[in-house]
Amino acid sequence: MSTVERDEGTQTPDRFEDPGLPQHTPRRGDLDPKQNKKSERIVLALFALSSLGTVGFLVAYFALPTGGDATTIFRSNVSLGLGLAFALLGIGAAAIHWSKAIMNNHERVEARHPMASPPEVREAAVKNLTDGTEDSRISRRGLLKTALVGSVALFPLTILVPLVGEVGEDWNVGALKHTMWRKGLKLTVDPSGRPIKASDLQVGSVVHVIPEGLDEAEHPLDEKAKAVVLLVRLNPDDIRSEQGDGWSYEGIIAFSKICTHVGCPVALYEQQTHHLLCPCHQSTFDVADGARVVFGPARRPLPQLPIAVDDEGYLVAQDDFDQPIGASFWERLR
């Protein structure tokens, strides 16, 4: 079966001879009974150390309660852990020392045999299969074969169809394109939910924003994951561009906080440069320039939330984002 492709001619004709196993060198303990006795005592001591570790663990378990403070918890953890470690290391070291110092350490030799079964076994195996096929009478019944393959291929649908049907809940992937922001919805502080007055914001200040009424949503976390916004007040003269006319208010400008790379919250704002940095993969956005990407693995600017001020001076959204927020996906522009 195994065709040796490398022909014998390419092998160096004269190779060295294997000199055979070297002489066995006895250990000190094999020659000196005192040394042997000493090894035995070491093994005993290690087993004893292990038992002490177990006892120590149990003492620590009962004697050291954990409270609500860090000190008692870490005290308990260290003493339990050390007890466990000694209990285990003692057994391990004892067993290994026993095997190395006391057990017979003569190396032995065993022959290997080729993995492949010998030709007569193979022949018998093939015969079994041909006999079996013959017995099954399948070769003369093409329709039966088709029916067998067909029904076995079809039946997994009984598991797959309900699975695929249910596993994505309503499969409404269109939801990825919208957030709960809509016209007139107040911008509120995350997490307190306090509405924000334009007059409260100094130039250079940053506010993490959630939409008003987030807690009443059906799935607040799902909505929050899409709707979080970063609000920054710049000097209006510093704003070089925006994603839409009149989308900011007196230098107050709002962008989606979800990175357009893979969706981390973009949380690090550098006041001097107006740069927003994503701490996950370091995509950097220029807030003063329509959140243009200035560095990193993101491609697109953070979507801008158009904002205005209502009659009472509170910041409100003019509308939802004009594009899907967060990481890219195939049909995001469709």
Binding site: F16, P19, G20, L82, I96, E110, R112, V173, V262, A298
Partner: protein, 560 residues
């Protein structure tokens, strides 16, 4: 099994038990065949054992954790003893992890044992795989076991990531969001794939229970089954051995499983578990109470995934955003697809197929049970090192923010440096490793031909000084000459005697070209005739030093 003449009551009881068992199972066959099976000894053979024992440690600590962890995303208000989070809104998963840490005595220890064991598990798998790769232990008949091991590596990644995400803290939650972002990037089906995993929009209500099933049933079940198969193959194939006197391709030299490895390997399990416990006792890991419960808004700076995911993280960080393209209105985020999907498939896939590629190139269909010394297979060793280098650059790139803050460097400069390095460093590593391997082989030749430097200086009557070299003993020499030289494939000519072009020549020619890339530049082991010539010359030189220079050079590179 019952035929022993027993004397002591214990021996009698043991005999009776053995008889009972054997009469019902025929276990005698297994004990007869396996109990005294020989295993060769080498420290590097313990790397796989570490993986096995840390996995057992994971199972033991994992069972403990499941009894207290609640895999639910229901939001509750915290009422436990940890005051920093009093009244905070969090999922039951997070709250139960806090309970495990603070209220269950020994719970924190088990959590930390579990997490450290996972890190050790992955590290042991990777280093074990390196040992197998660099020594050529994957060669016939062990290719199937290599693939099983490779699948175990990927399952280990899945186990690690799914477990890391279960506590539902801010750090792991952001990791999941990244996973969702990568999933979305899949062309055509991306958003559906994300809905499939998360049961709708991120984060949804289903993910933690689903991950829990994956983490405690699906993945460990598969790992357990494959580990069993992996070990069964080790018994079936008999373990490989390093080259040495008396160790050949047709024998195994080692110690019997019972009692030597029962004691050594059994003891080693306790050592591995013990060291992991020591780590868990003294080194804090994943203090989720500091991170806070998951909330889609906050994120911590300087966050790192567990080490085995860093290469993916690094790849994501390095890929420039310009790669995202829109074709016909459809978005194809190559800035995510390339580092998040294509690159890991290339890196890991090249490992998976390596045994088959190498077998194709060498055309070697024989069984191999004696391991290669890495220097004797320069191309393979260089390829392995360059793969590791790429991996290392990506790991470092995954920590570029920490490098920036610790060394006061610009994050942009670091990222650019890594963007260049990830392409250049593997090539340099390949070249350097190959040169090193060839040099080490020349060193071996030098040693075999001329012996050890003895530091004994002899002055001849003519006034010339020479250093006397002591020849290697036959065992030292054998290690350096036992391997077969690897040469480019020799193929049949393109045309037969009558000038007819034979079919299959182009295929053969391709294989030959590839094998020339692998083996063209090589150093071959010393042959007895070369050795004899060198000995003759040495004796000659010691008696009559003013002779012509040596005929046999130590570094004869073959270029044919």
């Amino acid at each position: 099994m019952s035929a022993h003449t027993t004397t002591t009551p214990t021996a009698k009881a043991a005999g009776a038990t053995a008889d009972w068992l054997d009469s019902r199972t025929g276990v005698g066959y297994a004990v007869k065949g396996l109990a005294r099976k020989l295993f060769p000894e080498h420290w590097s053979f313990m790397l796989g054992e570490i993986a096995l024992y840390s996995f057992i440690t994971l199972l033991i600590s994992g069972v403990f954790l499941t009894l207290f962890f609640v895999p639910s995303m229901n939001e509750i208000h915290y009422e436990g003893p940890w005051e920093a989070l009093a009244g905070a809104q969090m999922s039951e998963a997070y709250a139960s992890t806090l309970r495990l840490s603070f209220e269950v005595r020994g719970g924190l220890l088990m959590r930390q044992v579990h997490h450290w064991a996972a890190l050790v598990f992955m590290a042991a798998i990777v280093t074990h795989m390196m040992r197998v790769f660099f020594t050529g232990a994957f060669r016939k008949p062990r290719e199937v076991n290599w693939i099983i091991g490779f699948v175990l590596l990927t399952l280990g990644l899945a186990a690690g990531f799914s477990g890391y995400s279960l506590p539902d803290d801010v750090l792991s939650g952001n990791g999941l969001r990244i996973a969702e972002g990568i999933t979305r990037a899949v062309p055509i089906l991306g958003s559906y794939a994300a809905y499939f995993i998360f049961g709708g929009e991120f984060p949804g209500q289903d993910l933690i229970p689903r991950l829990y099933m994956v983490h405690i049933l699906l993945v460990p079940g598969l790992i357990l089954a494959l580990v069993g198969l992996h070990l069964a193959f080790v018994f079936l194939h008999k373990h490989t051995q390093f080259p040495g006197s008396g160790r050949s391709n047709s024998n195994v030299v080692g110690y019997p499983f019972f009692p030597i490895y029962v004691a050594k390997a059994g003891g080693f399990f306790f050592i591995v578990f013990g060291v992991i416990s020591l780590m868990a006792a003294t080194m804090q890991i994943n203090p989720i109470w500091n991170y806070g419960p998951y909330d889609p808004s906050p994120v911590s700076a300087g966050a790192q995934p567990d080490w085995y995911m860093l290469f993916l993280e690094g790849a994501l960080r390095l890929m420039p955003g310009q790669a995202e393209i829109v074709i016909g209105g459809f978005t194809i985020p190559l800035n995510v697809i390339v580092p998040g999907m294509i690159l890991p498939v290339l890196l890991l896939g090249s490992l998976a197929i390596w045994p088959f590629l190498e077998a194709y190139v060498t055309g070697d269909r024989r069984e191999h049970h004696v391991l290669d010394r890495p220097r004797n297979v320069p191309f393979r060793t260089a390829f392995g090192v360059s793969l590791l280098t790429a991996f290392l650059v990506l790991v470092l790139a995954g920590s570029n923010d920490l490098l920036a803050t610790h060394f006061n460097l610009s994050i942009n400069d670091i990222t650019w440096a890594f963007r260049v390095l990830v392409l250049v460093a593997p090539a340099i590593a390949f070249w350097v490793t190959r040169r090193l391997c060839l040099s080490l082989q020349r060193k071996d030749r030098e040693l075999v031909l001329h012996g050890h430097e003895s530091a004994r200086i002899v002055r001849f009557a003519s006034g010339e000084y020479v250093e006397v070299h002591t020849p290697l003993d036959e065992h030292e020499r054998w290690i350096r000459v036992q391997h077969e030289p690897l040469r480019p494939a020799v193929i049949e000519p393109a045309e037969d005697a009558r000038g007819v072009r034979r079919t299959g020549y182009r295929k053969d020619r391709f294989r030959q070209r590839l094998s020339q890339v692998f083996f063209e530049e090589r150093v071959e082991p010393v042959t007895p005739s070369e050795y004899a010539a060198a000995q003759a010359h040495r004796l000659h030189a010691e008696i009559e030093p003013d002779d012509e220079p040596a005929q046999i050079s130590a570094g004869s590179v073959h270029q044919d």
